[in-house]
Symmetry: C2
Subunit: 131 residues, 2 copies
């Protein structure tokens, strides 16, 4: 976030997110970071998340009206589990077709994309859970 000044709040938010394997919503992250910084305010959390997204330090996943945050900004794909609702990182190599799509009739510009798969994650599949 144009990282002008540092703050222990931003450090804690980022550290917490990076230590996680899931992809929490703002509220989930808030509750978690609050355990170390009880005075953390929601406004501060949102301000920092927005900044971190903008400068590409973290990624933001929009699904069904919810925003989830991912500390791993490197391009990778996600599976949103229809069953348990969680996100699962797919071991799927980024498709080069998507980086430079060739569209003869298209005269705009493409800078990036968001790809989210829907289905059932390995855990739920193993336990035969369905929606």
């Amino acid at each position: 976030m144009q990282q002008v000044r540092r703050s222990k709040q931003r450090d804690a938010i980022l550290a917490n997110l990076q230590a996680r394997y899931d992809h929490p919503t703002a509220m989930e992250l808030y509750l978690s970071v609050r355990q170390e910084l009880p005075n953390l305010s929601l406004g501060t959390l949102y301000r920092n998340l927005k900044g971190l997204c903008q400068d590409g330090t973290i990624a933001c996943l929009s699904v069904g009206g919810e925003e989830h945050y991912d500390a791993n900004a490197k391009q990778h794909y996600h599976l949103k589990c229809d069953c348990c609702g969680r996100f699962y990182d797919l071991p799927y190599a980024p498709l080069s077709e998507l980086d430079a799509p060739t569209l003869p009739e298209f005269t705009g510009e493409i800078h990036g994309y968001s790809l989210i798969f829907f289905g059932v994650c390995p855990d739920c599949t193993a336990q035969n859970r369905t929606k």
Copy 2:
């Protein structure tokens, strides 16, 4: 939406959405449908949109915390314009790699996906607009 009974509200909502080329948010659609049905309530709109999405009659695009609705449920890709904010339908043939991704190490199931591109639409490109 398990189409149990019909209602003129649902017909009007769907007809309005199908007559559009853009991909309105709930509120945009609401204001528009209200011109024919002044008494339409927001609750009814949301209830119907949710139902129509669930049974696949319409599609729902989640981006940056906003939901946009698309009457064309057929698989096609979108470009969200960074400049004017609108959605543009891409003349891009669906990638077969995405329908049946081969993931040796992956033991879950994949049922579908959402792919949204970011960039600048043809209109904005033509007029040299940038964000």
